[in-house]
């Protein structure tokens, strides 16, 4: 008969407050309460388990000894308890399903994979995180992954989706897929880069991680888009295993980028292994195209333009050059198929001919130099607070306090973000003038994508566009004159050098203070963004707004802003603006 040694009450009390035990129970401390986050009662063995970690600890030990099969449902709890309570002798039990799972999911190492933001889908703009379990395959495509996401009924419309996603109306759960599904979805279909951050987990830490994922099977947690999302839950898993803190201080929301940033902080250096870049199909095209010779580029362009004779003449080239041209065109047509949702008959026929020709060439790929851009964690932190001294030609000196929840603008350091884009959410500016504080502007969201072509190839371009919404001053000449606005631009961008973009667009804006009247303006706008040095960037925007509603005159406007930054956490900005009055400003911003 087994001899069971039960820990003392004081031992249990102490152990039940251990951070790892609280993490295993997903008990979170809020402003006023502390409660387990799992929705299903059977995750907690005590009826009070979600509220009382000591009762749950007592119930777990009791069940593990009196109903030994319970150990099979909670292998992570068992692992942890047996390391903490050396004197605890549990009845031996076999768990065939869990053993099968361990065998199927065994891994040599674990990576946290960051999929870059995608401006085509509001839910994906802030990126995505997933865990990859690296096995000894000859290819990473067969590695297992775990993701966390909300379970969304297919019948929910977009408004329900947004509302429920934000307010906790959905349950979320962990799910697993082979990595090739993510490669297909992100790299090939949504044309998003992925970055893999290998974690220095020991075999025991990997075992513990997998054991806890097993405990979470068929259990769900309440999903909140802005906090308890994929980034939060994966960070909590890593925290459970490694005892590091991946939450950013003083930030109640959690974004995938923030977790990556925290993971790569010097205090977590011991946790971080290799960083591996997995480029999108579009980036693969760019990498190859830039390495082609002028004559190869010419042939690529002619083939894209439908000159099938060129394909026949590839036979006159040496095999390596033919391969370089065809492999580049493979990427081009794959990119085009995603961008346009399909290929034309002509394009399909061209691709067919290219395949035919490639099969006639010897096996083997040409050597390409691999290009590794700066990884996402090198970008500027996503939240900002700044204070400005301004001088306005209408009302004199004032101060401006600005807070931006996220994410980035043209002048921040934007490694691994959508090139030449800006994404701003919840940006508030308060004006302090004559001891009075007024709301100068609230930007609910602002997205600006200049969509710059990198190759100049046909169809490797898209319209530049922007969309923003908020509440702000009508112009710079007035105080306390804020109105709601929705604005959007459509235009075209060009690049002359790698660090400069010019944009010409039609700018449109609706302003209204109540639902009874509104002002509609439209007009041409020119914008330039120049990244002059690693620490100096500027943007200049000017245009003329023609008031269609005719209640006010048409007006010109100008915004010239410069950013100077030698540290990713700070920058200094100067700005000259004109909109019925001139305004000069100098600001200091802190990013975190």
């Amino acid at each position: 008969m087994l001899k069971l040694t039960v820990p003392t009450n004081s031992n249990l009390q102490q152990l039940s407050q251990h951070p790892t035990w609280l993490r295993l129970l997903h008990i979170e401390t809020g402003l006023f309460t502390r409660q387990g986050r799992l929705s299903q009662n059977d995750f907690y063995l005590s009826t009070q388990g979600a509220l009382d970690p000591k009762q749950e600890l007592t119930a777990t030990i009791h069940q593990f000894t009196q109903a030994p099969k319970t150990q099979c449902r909670f292998p992570a709890r068992k692992l942890w308890l047996t390391t903490q309570l050396k004197q605890l002798k549990l009845p031996e039990v076999t768990c065939p399903n869990y053993s099968d799972y361990q065998q199927a999911f065994k891994a040599n190492s674990v990576s946290l994979v960051y999929a870059s933001g995608y401006l085509g889908n509001p839910a994906s703009m802030f990126g995505h995180l997933l865990l990859k379990l690296n096995q000894n395959h000859n290819t990473k495509l067969l590695d297992n992954t775990f993701s966390y996401g909300a379970i969304v009924p297919a019948s929910d419309n977009k408004l329900e989706y947004i509302f429920n996603g934000i307010t906790g109306g959905y349950q979320g759960r962990f799910s697993n897929q082979k990595y090739h599904h993510h490669q297909l979805a992100y790299n090939e279909t949504e044309l998003r880069d992925m970055w893999e951050y290998q974690l220095n987990f020991s075999p025991m830490q990997i075992k513990f991680l997998l054991a806890h994922l097993w405990e979470l099977e068929n259990h769900s947690l309440t999903y909140y888009f802005f906090r308890e999302n994929c980034a939060y839950q994966l960070a909590k898993l890593i925290e459970l295993v490694s005892n590091v803190n991946l939450m950013v201080d003083f930030k109640p929301w959690v974004m995938p980028f923030d977790v990556i940033k925290k993971l790569t902080h010097s205090s977590n250096e011991h946790l971080l292994g290799k960083i591996i870049y997995h480029p999108s199909r579009q980036e693969q095209l760019y990498e190859k195209y830039i390495q082609l010779t002028a004559s190869e580029k010419r042939d690529v362009t002619q083939i894209i333009n439908g000159d099938k004779q060129i394909i026949e003449s590839l036979i006159d080239r040496d095999a390596t050059s033919s391969k370089r041209i065809i492999d580049t065109l493979y990427d081009y047509f794959a990119f085009l198929e995603q961008k346009n949702k399909s290929l034309t008959d002509n394009q399909t026929s061209t691709r067919h001919k290219l395949l035919n020709h490639r099969f006639k060439l010897p096996s083997g790929k040409p050597d390409w130099l691999s290009n590794r851009p700066k990884a996402p964690h090198t970008a500027q932190p996503s939240s900002k607070v700044s204070i400005s001294q301004i001088y306005n030609t209408e009302y004199g000196s004032a101060n401006l306090i600005n807070f931006r929840a996220g994410y980035y603008d043209f002048l921040t350091a934007n490694s691994a973000r959508v090139p030449w884009s800006e994404l701003i959410a919840f940006d508030v500016s308060l004006l302090i003038h004559d001891h009075n504080v007024s709301l100068r502007e609230f930007i609910f969201f602002s997205i600006n994508n200049l969509n710059v072509t990198k190759t100049g190839l046909p169809e490797d371009k898209a319209y530049a566009w922007s969309l923003s919404s908020g509440y702000g001053a009508k112009n710079l000449a007035c105080l306390n004159c804020a109105e709601f606005f929705v604005s959007g631009n459509v235009g075209q961008s060009w690049t002359l050098t790698p660090g400069s973009v010019f944009n010409l667009s039609l700018a449109n804006k609706i302003q209204f203070s109540d639902l009874s009247s509104f002002q509609l303006s439209t007009g041409p706008e020119i914008e330039a963004v120049l990244l002059l040095t690693p620490w100096w960037a500027m943007s200049v925007k000017t245009g003329r707004a023609f008031n269609i509603s005719a209640s006010e005159d048409s007006s010109n406007y100008l915004i010239w802003e410069q950013s100077f930054s030698t540290n990713e956490n700070w920058d200094i900005r100067t700005a000259i603006q004109y909109d019925k009055a001139f305004e000069y400003s100098f600001s200091v911003a802190k990013y975190w």
Binding site: Y101, A123, A150, I151
Partner: protein
């Protein structure tokens, strides 16, 4: 920050009714490949779910079973269907990560993979010269080459 479709979670229940030997299964005919009723969605869902994103099944469902539509041949067939363009390109190049993954799924040992690829390459070159190959015809060539 991803969303999971509930339809994908339910999908697993549709596919487990065909219990027959893996090598006798026509994945397209018996397992509904191309009709989006498989348990872990790929191209079709990835393309159509611009808003709703990927879904999947419960943790333990990935443990392969030899006599259902989750057997290795069917898994490889799904992979070919999902990644057909890429797999065909890599076949023309004679190497590539998707080719390796496909052969690993089919449990072709590493030493034999080069000659299997050569055999598939020869068959597909003929198919391509005579028309437009499909994922299904590619799968047949693979099965005839291993």
């Amino acid at each position: 920050m991803k969303k999971i479709t509930i339809s994908a979670l339910l999908a697993a229940s549709f596919i487990s009714s065909n219990a027959m030997a893996d090598d006798k299964i026509n994945p397209w005919k018996h397992c509904g490949i191309g009709a989006i009723i498989f348990d872990d969605n790929g191209t079709a869902a990835a393309i159509s779910n611009i808003i709703w994103d990927l879904g999947t099944t419960a943790v333990s469902s990935k443990i392969s079973s030899a006599d259902t539509c989750e057997g290795k041949n069917v898994v490889a067939a799904k992979f070919i269907q999902d990644n057909f363009d890429r797999v065909l390109e890599e076949t023309s190049q004679g190497q590539g990560e998707h080719l390796t993954a496909m052969l690993e799924m089919l449990e072709v040992n590493t030493a034999n993979q080069p000659q299997v690829i050569t055999a598939i390459r020869t068959k597909m070159a003929n198919q391509l010269a005579n028309g437009q190959p499909t994922a299904q015809s590619y799968y047949s060539s693979v099965m005839a080459s291993i």
